[in-house]
């Protein structure tokens, strides 16, 4: 890995870092993004995907709510195809919820959130799965679903078209300094352990829950509290719209319809380290029980997997903990605060407000660099085209029809039948040096995210690693096994019903039809999870690492 140089190094490949990278390039600043894992592999890709109308924060966190309103509207303009306009409901179930209603209505009014009370009959007509326990329903049209993977990739690809570079699976292990001035970063490839330097004029720390750890490498403190949230994925959409409990934000009070699934979320627990995210059975149970209070069918739907993410709550020094803490964000200018020139951190916040966070932190960094070009990320669409609608690929519309009729195109071959991913959707990513394992392919294409959890498509992907990317069979088989293990880590937490039956097919296929367990043993390396993690990709991570979405 050669030493390089650039204008700004952005650390962190979540929504914030991706937004920062794009913002920088739109202002004509040369930049490199360095991410320890893959894009959207930390907090962003493990979010529940709710595009917040702001309703959830309008009572206790007014500023966050106002930002959600504004940013939601911007995202619908600039990142059209990452957003599904589902709308949302806030529903009261208990007496306590009922008492919260006037505060919610007042909060919506104060923060400018559109909110309409529906009769129960009307609400049930629109959303037949609403539980019998629901007593009051508010319609909040600006709730939506935000595809977090698509959002990050869209930002990064836009920046790349303007010359930005992206280094995934690359960790910042130190900083280069000239007295109080930052002059670069030391990086290490997490797969090959190769090290190198990137010389730069400025570094933006956009690592969310990891920002304290990154800042510590420089000897400065950023007080960020990692707060774990666990989510459960059901294999189908139970409701058309996002369903929120109308109460003080708590555990398991959101059901988000995301593409073909429903996501139940979430819990809230402080953790010691952003990568120690064990999923507890009690959390999974609570998600399902709480979800069932709002929607029928939650307990009988097929649970596909559970996963955990980590919120990067910024400690403003208040006594508040976890959910009580603000979902606001803050820009830390370390030149002002710590006397270190060329280092800026952005902490707190949420995926919905990623663009605004990026704008604010780039404002500060650009000022120090003497760049006066204003931010244009609120106007330039993510695909950089003039069309009002984002023309990033929208998968299902391209798939043709099930059976050829007349001149209609025939059904195209699929690589992942569950998620309707075609071979040509995967092919370009296999050429991208930022894509290093099959989980990376999954995040960009959704392969392996459906009910069978990669039982079938993992082989097809491994095959392409050999034919398209020139990997040897051992590495490709290893990548396939790692991919399946990552899926397995999430499935294990919802191991009953149809998903359990499915997994007998998975083990039957891979152990009996392919004999993959022996393939791994015969490679003279221990099976994934048992090893020390040398070059084994995500599968070699310690087991406590939370399951991926």
């Amino acid at each position: 890995m050669p030493d390089t140089s650039t204008g700004v190094v952005v650390i962190g490949g979540g929504s914030t870092g991706a937004g920062v990278l794009r913002d920088l390039t739109l202002r004509g600043i040369e930049a490199v993004l360095v991410e320890k894992g893959d894009l959207a592999s930390g907090t962003t890709g493990r979010s529940h995907g709710l595009l917040h109308s702001g309703g959830r924060y309008c009572v206790n966190d007014e500023q966050a709510a106002i930002e959600c309103v504004e940013e939601g509207r911007i995202l619908r303009r600039i990142a059209r195809s990452t957003v599904e306009d589902t709308g949302g409901y806030f529903v009261s179930v208990t007496e306590e919820d009922h008492e919260w209603e006037p505060r919610f209505v007042e909060g919506c009014r104060r923060t400018g959130i559109t909110c309409e009370r529906l009769s129960l009959d009307e609400a049930r007509r629109r959303e037949p799965a609403l539980s019998r326990q629901v007593r009051t329903v508010f319609w909040v049209p600006e709730d939506g679903h935000l595809d977090p993977f698509y959002l990050v990739v869209g930002n990064v690809e836009s920046a790349r078209r303007r010359g930005a570079r992206v280094m995934t699976h690359t960790e910042v292990i130190g900083f280069l300094r000239d007295g109080d001035r930052l002059t670069g970063v030391r990086i290490k490839d997490s797969k090959t352990n190769e090290e190198a330097s990137i010389a730069c004029q400025s570094v933006i720390n956009a690592t969310g829950a990891w920002s304290g750890l990154v800042a510590r490498l420089l000897g400065v403190e950023v007080k960020v509290v990692p707060v774990k949230g666990t989510m459960v994925v059901l294999s189908r959409r139970l409701a058309h719209a996002a369903i929120n409990r109308c109460h003080k934000p708590g555990d398991g009070d959101i059901v988000v319809p995301g593409l073909s699934v429903s996501i139940l979320g979430t819990t809230s627990a402080k953790v010691a380290h952003p990568e120690t995210l064990p999923i507890e059975w009690d959390e999974v149970r609570r998600m399902i029980e709480e979800g069932a209070m709002m929607l029928d069918g939650v307990t009988t739907a097929r649970a596909m997997r559970a996963y955990a993410g980590v919120r990067p709550l910024y400690d403003l020094g208040a006594e508040a903990e976890g959910r009580e803490m603000s979902r606001n964000f803050a820009v830390i200018d370390h030149q002002v605060r710590d006397g270190i020139t060329g280092f800026t951190s952005i902490v707190g916040g949420k995926v919905t407000t990623y663009r605004l966070m990026a704008e604010r932190v780039v404002d500060v960094a650009a000022r120090h660099l003497g760049v006066r070009t204003p931010c244009t990320t609120a106007e330039v669409p993510l695909n950089d085209r003039e069309e009002p609608l984002d023309q990033l690929r929208h998968r299902p519309s391209l798939l043709g029809v099930p059976k050829p009729h007349g001149d209609e195109p025939p059904l195209q071959p699929l690589l992942c039948e569950c998620e309707l991913v075609r071979p040509q959707d995967v092919a370009p990513w296999l050429k991208d040096p930022a894509v290093r394992d099959l989980e990376d392919v999954r995040r960009r294409t959704r392969s392996g995210m459906g009910p069978c959890q990669a039982a079938i498509c993992s082989y097809r992907l491994a095959a392409r690693l050999v034919s398209d990317r020139g990997l040897d069979g051992a590495s490709a088989t290893r990548a396939m096994a790692d991919f399946l293990e990552t899926r397995w880590r999430g499935v294990r937490h919802v191991f009953w019903g149809s998903q359990l039956r499915n997994m007998q097919v998975t083990t039957g296929l891979h152990m009996e039809l392919y004999n993959v367990d022996r393939e791994l043993m015969l490679q003279h390396s221990p099976p994934p999870l048992a090893g020390e993690g040398q070059g084994g990709g995500r599968g070699a991570e310690p087991a406590e690492v939370g399951a991926q979405r």
Partner: protein, 420 residues
């Protein structure tokens, strides 16, 4: 309706049990819950591939290895079936295959070592004749051949893995075009298999192969799609056209090799006048005076009983729905007994996917006569016998022993049912 033995299940153990009853000259009714586990889990009949779930040295003599296993683990399904059932069941099935026109090869005292679609050598005892030219104890070079646009067999991946394990110079990969198929068309293994029954199509593929594969006794490994309804004929014609030994490699469901086996055996039973009740999940056993009087089936919106003198429950534990896993409790659909209870669902699994899984071990506790038993070892019904995946401790994935266990336990349960 009243019959001698009702066999409940669609997999290999159910078929072995039904054949056993038929051969004894008694009346048998087959009750099938739905799709056969054969579609998902079988292509070859693996008796025992490795002595333990973690051993890397494969078994050379399956009969001897099973005998050893029986001594070592007296509660293992093989021990419950007994060595006699292993021999008699295998003989019964091989004779049946022959009578039904299925060309299979193999014997209990040796394993083939056949390459899988990942290019991994896999030990297996009995296999369709169309697969055995792939045996790695033979020295001839191997050319893996895939089809452009066909995703379920990747010759490059298979060749790369097998090269490393089996001698670098002798393995190569090619891809040919299957006329009418290509990267723009959605097709499955079954579509290809039907096309291979057409001589023009077959010859067009064979012509390309002849061009790519040069002499020196090379053999050609292709995905298992060489014909569906007349496999023997199709295979022979293709092999002759290619001019080299050809072997098939099984692929993901829908696995054509498994479909052929299942469809042929099913038709053969039906031709012999055996009644099959199809797509009817059994959901309750009516037990009085320690005997099962009938099993209730649900089909097409109504419920009806099947009455038999005795019953063989020959189901895979999960894929064909023998057990229903709730969040904490696993129940069986006949007696509605809790089979197992887990405080936390994760406890049903091992940390790694590729290791011995607790959920695979789940099954009925059994009496010595293979009757499902309660916790005190007392039979739930004296005339019900269990075979296949529904037995406790039945976990063939690590040792590669699914087919052998299915046949031995199916045979033994049927013998017990006949004696009841």
């Amino acid at each position: 309706m009243k019959t001698d033995v009702a066999v409940i299940g669609t997999g290999l153990s159910a078929l072995a049990a039904a054949r056993t009853v038929q051969q004894a000259g008694r009346q048998v009714v087959l009750v099938w819950p739905g799709l056969s586990s054969l579609y998902f889990l079988f292509a070859t009949i693996d008796v025992i591939g490795y002595p333990t779930a973690t051993a890397t040295e494969s078994v050379a003599d399956p009969a001897e290895a099973v005998a050893r296993l029986i001594t070592r683990e007296p509660s293992h399904p093989y021990a419950r079936a007994g060595m006699d059932a292993v021999h008699a069941g295998t003989r019964l099935m091989l004779e049946w295959f022959k009578e039904a026109g299925l060309a299979w090869q193999g014997a209990l005292n040796r394993n083939f070592l056949l390459p899988t679609a990942t290019g991994t050598p896999k030990p297996c005892c009995l296999a369709p004749a169309s697969m055995t030219a792939g045996d790695l104890s033979r020295p001839e070079p191997i050319v893996f051949c895939g089809f452009t646009g066909y995703q379920d067999f990747a010759p490059e991946l298979a060749a790369s893995n097998l090269k490393r394990q089996w001698g670098a110079a002798d393995v190569s990969a090619i891809r040919v075009t299957a006329p009418g198929y290509g990267p723009d068309r959605l097709f499955t293994s079954v579509d290809l298999a039907r096309s291979f029954e057409d001589a023009t199509f077959r010859d067009a593929v064979a012509a390309q192969l002849r061009e790519h594969v040069s002499g020196d006794g090379a053999r050609v490994g292709v995905p298992g799609v060489l014909g569906l309804t007349r496999p023997g004929e199709t295979f022979a014609a293709f092999q002759e056209a290619v001019g080299h030994p050809v072997f098939e490699i099984p692929t993901v469901p829908p696995s054509v090799i498994a479909l052929r086996l299942f469809d042929r055996l099913r038709k053969h039973l039906q031709e012999a006048g055996i009644e099959i009740i199809w797509a009817a999940p059994a959901h309750a056993a009516q037990v009085t005076d320690e005997r099962c009087r009938s099993v209730l089936l649900k089909a097409a919106g109504h419920e009806f009983p099947v009455e038999a003198a005795s019953y063989v429950v020959a189901l895979e534990d999960w894929v064909d729905g023998a057990f229903r896993a709730g969040v904490h409790t696993v129940r069986d659909p006949f007696f509605h007994e809790p089979i197992t209870w887990n405080k936390v669902p994760t406890d049903r699994t091992a940390e790694s996917l590729f290791s011995t899984q607790p959920f695979e071990q789940v099954g009925y506790a059994l009496t010595d006569r293979l009757q499902p038993a309660d916790e005190n070892g007392k039979p739930l019904a004296r005339n019900v016998f269990c075979a296949g995946g529904a037995m406790a401790g039945y976990d063939p994935s690590g040792t590669k022993s699914r087919g052998g266990m299915a046949i031995a336990t199916g045979y033994r349960a049927a013998r017990e049912a006949l004696a009841a």
